[in-house]
């Protein structure tokens, strides 16, 4: 029906259009589509497919495998992977093409598509890359002349595919490199953030330590001054205010220590659900009546070992925040507990700075449908001194994170603006880091001593030393004061027969409390030694396990606490002496 008088002109038109369809893109799929669409639109061809040797493709390794990379129409493609030795792809070494008609008995064995029951099939070589399969219902469209006519343009097509494959590989490598750089940058950010938190922890711990020493001075002196004043004196009220303010300051110090992970822990087994309900009962009066509380507490999950006081603080902070996020509106706070297997991938989504490993964890979750947070706010909420509240000090959630980290746990946060926030606290079930249970020292009510025992108090802070001396002297003891470790050891070596008890500060610049303790123990195993610090009692006691440490006094302490601990330590010493066998007593 074509009325062209010049078949050669027709051929040139086709080849011209085919040639110019090549090289428009370096994307493999588009490059095949551009070329084969023209081929199907201009020639009487019903189906075309490009097969490439597997090892030349991304993710392909085997040189014995070929893969279908493009088919037009796709609905006819069936197999997508074949051995290169499959008869559908077979071509002799020097052969550019071969052709087979549906009437040939071998035709069916060379078909790897659907609905190709009849027609003529041609397989053309795409250089060393692969094969082009063409099907036409009109055998003349794939005659020798027609196929040879296509040779040059198919060679160009091969070069285009080669360029597309190379481009694909380069893009893949660049993407991989970029992905790996992004991953590294992400890890670096995580490490930086963890380092920042650690630095803040050290800073907070240091500040808390120094403040504790100052508070010992303030509290102690205030208590002494109060005891010296008759109760009717107007100044007594002011001194009470000093004591109250100092106790509040001590509370802040405890929060800073909690954030730094140096708070004191006394752990015991606890049911997370019971704990949540207990706190909730306490807090119900403080939560808006418009807020509905839902609990989805799982029963039958094992208890966890936690410090009840610290965990109460965590829960109260989180429930208070949830309630404040809802504000005056109606809303819902949901409490839930459960157990979860955390994978390494899950750990990446938890708050940074936690050093936990994949495994089974128990969790409790507090979620609200309040105002939620954007990503930037969410990334900062655990930073100390960051607060979105007008009157907030920014220590609440920082302390929460510190406490949870101190328990070998971790925190996950999910939040969306105007949708709400979910905070999930994970705690280790077994084989995880958790604080070891430590029984608090037994202390009794202490009356002023009549024994005239001599106590050596060691502290590098003059104000702390002065207060401790004054309290103990008022308690009826003889007191020697050493300003630092070096002086303490001098006093001890000179007067050790006089000294009945040592109270030693743990952190001193010249010789640490630990070294003072060790050197004295080298000489005397029997003398009681109390260590004194603003840091975690548990951590301290653990360091001295098996070294015959008598006890611990947490700073800042009140006069009563110091006297109670002192009396208890001396009583323990007396008991030891009474229980000592006679033969050794001499």
């Amino acid at each position: 029906m074509n009325n062209s008088s010049y078949p050669i002109a027709r051929d040139i038109q086709l080849l011209y259009e085919l040639s110019l369809s090549l090289g428009r893109t370096l994307e493999l799929d588009s490059c095949c589509n551009d070329f084969l669409s023209v081929l199907l639109a201009r020639k009487n061809i019903s189906y075309a497919a490009v097969w490439i040797q597997g090892h030349l493709l991304l993710g392909g390794e085997s040189p014995d495998e070929a893969r279908l990379v493009f088919a037009l129409p796709r609905a006819r493609a069936c197999e997508t992977s074949l051995p290169v030795s499959h008869p559908a792809l077979g071509l002799h070494q020097e052969q550019f093409y071969r052709r087979i008609s549906w009437e040939d008995p071998r035709y069916q064995s060379q078909i790897c598509e659907r609905s190709l029951e009849k027609g003529t099939l041609a397989v053309l070589r795409l250089g060393d890359l692969g094969w082009l399969r063409l099907l036409s219902l009109d055998s003349s469209s794939l005659s020798d002349r027609e196929l040879l006519k296509l040779r040059n343009v198919v060679e160009k097509f091969t070069t285009t595919i080669q360029a597309a494959l190379l481009h694909q590989r380069i893009v893949h490598e660049i993407s991989e490199r970029k992905r790996s750089e992004e991953e590294r940058a992400y890890l670096e950010r995580q490490v930086q953030h963890a380092q920042k938190l650690e630095s803040l922890g050290v800073l907070a711990g240091g500040i808390a330590h120094d403040f504790n020493n100052l508070l010992v001075g303030i509290l102690g002196n205030a208590e002494i001054a109060l005891s010296l004043l008759p109760g009717s004196m107007p100044a007594a009220e002011s001194i009470h205010s000093i004591i109250n303010a100092s106790e509040k300051a001590a509370g802040l110090c405890r929060q800073m220590l909690a954030y730094s992970g140096k708070a004191s822990y006394v752990v015991r087994p606890m049911d997370l659900g019971d704990m949540l309900l207990e706190i909730l009962a306490l807090m119900k009066v403080a939560i808006s009546k418009k807020i509905t509380i839902q609990d989805r507490l799982e029963t039958g999950i094992p208890q966890v070992s936690v410090d009840a006081t610290q965990m109460h603080q965590v829960t109260m902070n989180l429930i208070t925040n949830a309630s404040e996020a809802i504000g005056d509106r109606a809303g819902t706070i949901t409490l839930s507990t459960g157990m979860l297997e955390l994978s390494t991938e899950d750990l990446a989504h938890l708050q940074p700075g936690t050093d936990i490993s994949a495994g089974t964890y128990e969790y409790f979750e507090i979620s609200d449908d309040g105002c939620g947070m954007d990503g930037e706010t969410c990334s900062k909420i655990f930073d100390p001194f960051y607060s979105t509240k007008f009157t907030g000090r920014g220590l609440g959630l920082a302390a929460v994170l510190g406490i949870v980290r101190g328990h070998g746990g971790a925190i996950g946060v999910e939040s969306r603006p105007e949708e709400g926030t979910t905070i999930r606290v994970f705690l280790p079930v077994k084989d995880g880091k958790r604080p070891t249970e430590q029984e608090p020292l037994a202390v009794g009510v202490t009356e002023p001593s009549e024994s005239k025992a001599t106590i050596l108090v060691v502290d590098d802070e003059e104000i702390v030393l002065g207060v401790a001396k004054a309290i103990l002297q008022r308690g009826g003891y003889e007191v020697l004061g050493a300003l630092g470790g070096t002086q303490a050891l001098d006093f001890f070596h000179r007067d050790q027969s006089r000294i009945n008890l040592l109270i030693v500060d743990l952190t001193m610049p010249d010789i640490s409390g630990y070294d003072v303790f060790t050197r004295i123990r080298e000489v005397r195993q029997d003398i009681p030694i109390l260590l004194c610090s603003g840091y975690d009692e548990h951590d301290t006691m653990r360091k001295f396990t098996g070294h015959n440490l008598t006890g611990f006094i947490h700073k800042p302490y009140s006069a009563r606490q110091l006297l109670d601990k002192t009396r208890a330590a001396l009583d323990m010493q007396d008991e030891n002496i009474r229980e000592r066998p006679q033969s050794l007593g001499d």
């Binding site: 027709r10 086709l14 011209y16 201009r42 009487n44 609905s115 219902l137």
Partner: protein, 395 residues
């Protein structure tokens, strides 16, 4: 129908009940007439009503949708500049045809700004031993119609025969022209897969007069350059050689109606591209896409050859089916009808004569389209221009 299914049984019953000589053409195109006709048809639950609506009745579409939705009748359709009924063509009225479908028709939205679409075409029965037929009606001014047809070809390949038409109005105003139970839409297509088999054939009868020319720069349906020159200038020179009047935006159709472009297709007539407009900067806007670097010829219309081509298409179509068809659908180009003018009746008579001569009891019915869609499944479906497409649907 050659494969089992309730739809086939119902359709047989429907055909028995219905006298095939009954006109499907409703001259008034009034809402009441259309609804009454449909209600009096024995509709089964999987049947769908195909409504071919003349441009004159376009304003009734919202009421029609409301009325048919209220009666839970599934339907799809499109607006065309004219309708074909037997030996006649009309500028008014409606053609209503009830067809069996295994799946409801699907609406596809063609994005007017890029080459994407929303929606997916309906499934066709995979177990069918012979191809079924899909009907595609598309807004003729929608973008990327060739992309839509490629997508359908990739999806169905030769498991279906393709028949369809470009919808719209004769003035080529941008207006919604595709409708279904979901509403009436612009920049959209409706694809319906009837379980009937079909033979589809395409002919136009245009002959090459001048060429070849290379479309050295094109963008979709705009020819910007021919042989590296402004397309409008080259086209003007060609037409002047054929003694046509100088072209302008005002006389464009009359000056060019007998000189469309043709793109070479091996073993077939050239694929016709109908220039419908010249822009201020000398670009030629065609009704369908013209691939860049494609080689074109200017064609010339001879009334007799065009009329005969339609007859040949019917003969070839009849030769491709073994059973007598139940329905004869025509998609004939609106601008071809305008060009043939009084001779267009001859074309319709030739078609009707060939149908009768073949002993078929069905009468030709169809549309004057703004672009014709056809493929037997072995070739990429094309959006033809100035072409005659016939489909003989059979069980």
């Amino acid at each position: 129908m050659v494969y089992s299914g309730n739809a086939s049984v119902k359709y047989l019953a429907y055909l028995v009940k219905r006298n095939l000589e009954d006109p499907m053409y409703l001259p008034s195109g009034e809402l009441g007439d259309i609804v009454h006709f449909i209600e009096s048809s024995p509709l089964g639950p999987s049947d769908q009503v195909m409504i071919l609506l003349s441009e004159e009745c376009q304003s009734r579409i919202p009421a029609l949708i409301e009325a048919l939705n209220a009666r839970s009748i599934g339907f799809f359709g499109a607006v065309f500049p004219g309708l074909i009924e037997g030996r006649n063509h009309h500028r008014s009225g409606a053609i209503v045809q009830v067809l069996p479908f295994d799946h409801p028709p699907e609406l596809i939205h063609l994005d007017p700004t890029d080459e994407t679409w929303r929606g997916s075409p309906p499934d066709v029965p995979e177990t069918s031993p012979s191809p079924v037929t899909i009907c595609v009606f598309v807004d003729c001014l929608a973008h990327n119609i060739s992309g839509l047809l490629s997508m359908l070809f990739n999806r169905y390949a030769n498991s279906v025969h393709y028949f369809g038409a470009g919808a719209g109005n004769g003035e080529l105003r941008k207006e919604p022209s595709i409708f279904t139970n979901e509403g009436v839409f612009q920049n959209a297509a409706v694809v319906a897969a009837t379980s009937l088999g079909a033979a589809v054939r395409v002919r136009h009868g245009w002959k090459r007069s001048t060429g070849p020319f290379v479309a050295t720069r094109t963008h979709k349906n705009r020819i910007q350059e021919l042989n590296w020159e402004k397309a409008g200038l080259v086209y003007q020179r060609i037409l002047q050689r054929d003694m046509a009047p100088p072209i302008s935006q005002d006389n464009f159709f009359h000056a060019t109606k007998e000189h469309p472009f043709g793109i070479e297709k091996e073993g077939q007539e050239d694929v016709v591209r109908d220039p419908i407009q010249i822009t201020d900067n000398g670009e030629l806007v065609c009704l369908s896409d013209v691939p860049e670097n494609s080689v074109l010829h200017v064609l010339h219309g001879d009334h007799d050859s065009l009329v005969n081509a339609a007859g040949e298409a019917v003969d070839a179509c009849g030769a491709a089916i073994a059973t007598k068809p139940n329905i004869c659908l025509i998609s004939d180009c609106y601008s071809r009808a305008l060009m043939l003018d009084n001779d267009f009746s001859k074309e319709l008579n030739v078609v009707a004569d060939r149908i009768e001569k073949a002993g078929y009891s069905c009468s030709p019915e169809g549309v004057l389209a703004l672009g014709e869609i056809a493929s037997d499944g072995e070739q990429l479906p094309e959006f033809f221009n100035k072409t005659f497409v016939v489909a003989l649907l059979h069980e």
